[in-house]
C-alpha cells in the first residue's frame, strides 16, 4: 500500500503493530471532544493532534492566566498577558503543530444545551474538567449518545482516570452522588504537581488512541490511580459491573441533562456577576472558610456571608451557594471562577 506523503509524520506510530496504518486511517476519520482545556485538556489535545486525529472539538469557558503555565501546555506568556480564551489559544497552538487536523474551538460553558448543539456527534469524549457537575453531565450525555468517555482528575500528587464505555459501568455506578466540594481537595486548595497531570493524561491518551484506532479491542476496565510523589501507579479492578438501578447507563433517565443550569446575571452597571445555583446545596460557610484558609486573601466570615479575594476577584458567598463575584463582568469567566473556588457536588 502506497503511503501518502503526509502520513510519513506518523510512521513511528504506524510501525507499532497493534496500531498500524489501519489504526492511523481510523484515527484520521475520528472526531473527539475535549471538555476543559486546562492541564488535562491541553495534554490530551496535544497528544491527539500529534497522533493525527481527524477533528477535535475543544470547549472551555475560561481565559489563560499566568498561574496556568506551570502545568497547562499549549499556552505561553503572551496568551496569559492577553487573557486569551483557553479554547482559542489552544486551537491556535495546535494548528501550528498539525495543520492536517480540523480543530474547532468553543469558548462556552459545557452545558447540556451546548452538548446538544454540537454540529457532529464525537466518537469519544475526554474529561479535562475541574468539577463534578460537568463530569456528571458528560457521563449522562455520553450514556444517552452511546459515546465512550474517559474520566480523569488530579489533585496534589495524585490522579485517577477511567474509561466509561457506553454500556457502563459509568461514573454514577461508582459514585451515585457527586462528592461535596468542601470534602474533596482542588488544585486551588491542595495544589497540583505537573507530573500527576502527565501520568493521568498518559492513561487517558493511550485509552483514547486504542478506542479510536482499534474499536475492536476492549478498553482497560478499572480505575487508574497514581501518586507520583510516592511513585505508585496501578489500575484498581472494578468490583462489579454496572449498578442495576443506575439512572444513567441502565435506567437511561440521564438526570444531568434535564437539571436546570445555575442562574448567572451580570449586575446592571457593575463589574459584578451573581451566580445562583438551581439546587441549594448544604454549603457550610465555616467549612469553606477552613478549606480556603491560606489559598485566598482577605478571608472574612460575617453572620451573613463569606468573603474572600482571589484571582483579582472578590467573592461574597451566601448560605445555599449563591455568590456575588466583584471585579468580573463576563458570566462565563464568573462561572469558571465559581466552579474553581466553590466546587459543588
Amino acid at each position: 500500500m502506497a503511503e501518502l506523503p503526509s502520513l510519513h509524520r506518523y510512521s513511528r506510530q504506524m510501525r507499532f503493530a497493534a496500531f498500524g496504518p489501519q489504526g492511523q486511517q481510523r484515527l484520521r476519520q475520528a472526531t473527539a471532544l475535549v471538555v476543559g482545556i486546562g492541564a488535562l485538556g491541553t495534554h490530551t489535545a496535544d497528544g491527539l493532534v500529534r497522533a493525527g486525529i481527524g477533528t477535535l472539538h475543544l470547549v472551555d469557558r475560561d481565559i489563560v492566566e499566568a498561574s496556568n503555565l506551570q502545568r497547562q501546555v499549549l499556552f505561553d506568556e503572551a496568551d496569559a498577558a492577553d487573557g486569551v480564551p483557553k479554547a482559542v489559544a489552544a486551537a491556535r497552538h495546535l494548528a501550528s503543530i498539525n495543520r492536517e487536523c480540523r480543530i474547532v474551538a468553543h469558548t462556552a460553558d459545557c452545558s447540556a444545551a451546548f452538548l446538544q448543539s454540537l454540529p457532529e456527534r464525537p466518537n469519544l469524549v475526554l474529561d479535562g474538567t475541574d468539577n463534578f457537575p460537568t463530569r456528571y453531565l458528560l457521563n449522562d450525555w455520553c450514556a444517552e449518545q452511546r459515546v465512550p468517555w474517559v474520566y480523569a482528575g488530579a489533585v496534589g500528587a495524585e490522579g485517577a482516570a477511567m474509561v466509561v464505555p457506553p454500556g457502563g459501568p459509568c461514573l454514577r455506578c461508582l459514585w451515585p452522588e457527586a462528592p461535596q466540594g468542601a470534602e474533596v481537595g482542588s488544585c486551588e486548595t491542595a495544589g497540583i504537581l505537573a507530573p500527576a497531570i502527565a501520568a493521568v493524561t498518559a492513561f487517558q491518551l493511550a485509552e483514547a488512541l486504542r478506542l479510536l484506532a482499534r474499536p475492536d479491542l476492549a478498553p482497560t476496565r478499572g480505575v487508574f490511580t497514581c501518586d507520583v510523589w510516592r511513585g505508585q501507579y496501578g489500575v484498581l479492578p472494578l468490583a462489579s459491573g454496572p449498578a442495576a438501578d443506575c439512572p444513567a447507563c441502565q435506567r437511561r433517565a440521564f438526570p444531568a441533562l434535564s437539571a436546570p443550569p445555575p442562574e448567572v446575571a451580570t449586575l446592571c452597571g457593575r463589574d459584578a456577576v451573581q451566580i445562583d445555583p438551581p439546587r441549594r446545596t448544604a454549603l457550610d460557610l465555616d467549612q469553606w472558610a477552613t478549606r480556603l484558609q491560606g489559598a485566598v486573601e482577605q478571608l472574612e466570615r460575617t453572620p451573613h456571608l463569606l468573603r474572600f479575594v482571589v484571582d483579582g476577584v472578590r467573592f461574597s458567598v451566601f448560605p445555599g451557594g449563591r455568590a456575588l463575584l466583584f471585579g468580573v463582568r463576563d458570566p462565563l469567566r464568573a462561572r469558571a471562577l465559581y466552579d474553581r473556588w466553590l466546587p459543588h457536588g
Binding site: 449586575l267 457593575r270 459584578a272 460575617t302 453572620p303 451573613h304 461574597s316 448560605p319 466583584f326
Partner: protein, 372 residues
C-alpha cells in the same frame, strides 16, 4: 414575600384591575376603533372613560392623551417631536435612563445641546438655578422628572414650569414616580407617565399628554382605525400619536385602577406608604453602619435609598432576598444622580414600600440590615 419595590412597579394590583383585563380577553376582544359592532362601542366607551380620567388628572382635554407602551415610549415620542436640530434642552441630574438615553441619542443625531442642572447638596433642585439657566439659554425644552426614583425627593414642578413659561421654554414632565401619588396638573406643556406604578395599572401602558395649543409632528405612522383611505398619518389627536393596535386590555385595566384609586383615596394610600418609609428611615438611620442617601426633608414619594458601611448593596440585596424581602439594588436607571449622592461605585439599596404593608412587615424588613 414582603414587597418593597413599588417605585419599579406596584404590587399587588387591585382585583378590579385584573377583572377588567380578564373581561376584555373573555368577553370583548376587539379594539375601540376597529369596527362598528356593539362590542366595539362598549370598548370605545371604556377606552374613552380611561382617557377622560387621565385628562382630568393631567389637566388636558381627553383627546390630548395618547396611549403609549409606557413612560419610556411617551418620553421618546415627546423629545423627538419637540427637539429640532441644534435646539438647546435643559434637564436635571435626577433623570431616569428613559430621558438620559434619548437625549444623548438626540445630541448625537440632531446636535441637540444639553444642559444638566445639578442636584443641591440637600438632594433637591434649586429653582433659582433653573431660572438662571432658562433665562441664559432660553432652551427649546426643559424636561425633568417630578420625583427622584432614587431618593424620593419631589421637585417643585409648578414653580419650574412657571419659570420655563416665563422664559418661553416648553416643559416636559416625567410624572412616572408621582402619578397616583400627587397632583400632576402642574402647568407642564407635556406630561409622560407609566400606568403600572402608583396608578396601579398593568405594565405595557403609559401615556403622553400634550397641551391642546401645541402642534407636534407624529413620530410613528401606521393604522389608526380612522381616515384609513389616506396615505398620511392623521393630524388630529389622539390618532396622530397612536399608530398601531392599542393595548386595549391594559387601557381598560388602568381605567379600573383609576376608579379604584378614586374610591379608596390617593392621599390615604400615600400617607400610609410614607409612614412606612419614615419607620424604615428611623430604624435604619439609627444603625451607625447605615447611611441614608439624602432622604428628602420636604415633599417626597415613598422611596428610601441607603448604603451600608460594611456590605455592598448587591450583598444586601442577596440578604434581603434570603429573608424573603423584595427590594432593589444598584443604580435604578438614574446614572447621573449617583455622582451627586456619592454612590457612583455601587449604587444604593432602594426600599419603596406600599400602603399594604403592616408595621410588623416594616420592622421585619429593617431587621435584615439593622445590627448586621
Amino acid at each position: 414575600m414582603l414587597y418593597l419595590d413599588h417605585a419599579a412597579t406596584s404590587f399587588p394590583k387591585p382585583s378590579t384591575v385584573l377583572d377588567a383585563i380578564t373581561a376584555w380577553y373573555q368577553e370583548l376582544g376587539v379594539s375601540a376603533d376597529r369596527g362598528d359592532s356593539g362590542r366595539c362601542a362598549t370598548v370605545r366607551r371604556g377606552v374613552q372613560t380611561t382617557r377622560a380620567a387621565l385628562g382630568a388628572l393631567v389637566g388636558v382635554p381627553a383627546a390630548r392623551i395618547a396611549f403609549t407602551s409606557g413612560a419610556t415610549e411617551a418620553l421618546n415620542l415627546a423629545l423627538r417631536a419637540v427637539l429640532r436640530p441644534g435646539d438647546a434642552v435643559l434637564t436635571t441630574e435626577f433623570e431616569h435612563s428613559s430621558v438620559v438615553r434619548p437625549l444623548r441619542a438626540l445630541a448625537a443625531e440632531r446636535g441637540v445641546r444639553l444642559q444638566i442642572l445639578p442636584a443641591t447638596a440637600a438632594g433637591g433642585l434649586d429653582v433659582g438655578a433653573a431660572r438662571a439657566a432658562l433665562l441664559a439659554q432660553r432652551p427649546r425644552l426643559f424636561v425633568f422628572t417630578h420625583a427622584s426614583n432614587v431618593t424620593g425627593a419631589v421637585l417643585d414642578a409648578a414653580a419650574l414650569c412657571a419659570e420655563a413659561r416665563a422664559a418661553g421654554t416648553l416643559t416636559l414632565l416625567d410624572a412616572s414616580q408621582t402619578a397616583g401619588h400627587l397632583p400632576i396638573a402642574v402647568g407642564a406643556d407635556l406630561v409622560a407617565a407609566s400606568a403600572h406604578k402608583a396608578l396601579l395599572g398593568p405594565p405595557g401602558l403609559g401615556f403622553l399628554a400634550v397641551r391642546p395649543e401645541l402642534d407636534l409632528p407624529a413620530q410613528k405612522q401606521g393604522g389608526t382605525g380612522s381616515s384609513a383611505a389616506l396615505d398620511e398619518q392623521p393630524t388630529a389627536w389622539p390618532q396622530a400619536f397612536e399608530a398601531g393596535t392599542p393595548n386595549t386590555p391594559a387601557i381598560l385595566g388602568l381605567g379600573a385602577a383609576l376608579r379604584w384609586l378614586a374610591a379608596t383615596g390617593i392621599q390615604e394610600r400615600l400617607a400610609a406608604a410614607l409612614a412606612h418609609t419614615d419607620a424604615l428611615a428611623a430604624r435604619l438611620g439609627a444603625d451607625p453602619d447605615v447611611r441614608l442617601v439624602l432622604p428628602p426633608a420636604g415633599a417626597r414619594v415613598p422611596i428610601l435609598s441607603f448604603v451600608h458601611r460594611r456590605y455592598d448593596p448587591a450583598e444586601l440585596g442577596a440578604m434581603f432576598d434570603a429573608a424573603g424581602v423584595h427590594v432593589r439594588t444598584g443604580f435604578h436607571c438614574a446614572p447621573w444622580l449617583h455622582r451627586a449622592l456619592g454612590t457612583a461605585g455601587s449604587g444604593t439599596v432602594r426600599l419603596s414600600p406600599g400602603p399594604e404593608l403592616s408595621a410588623a412587615d416594616v420592622q421585619a424588613a429593617a431587621a435584615v440590615v439593622v445590627g448586621s
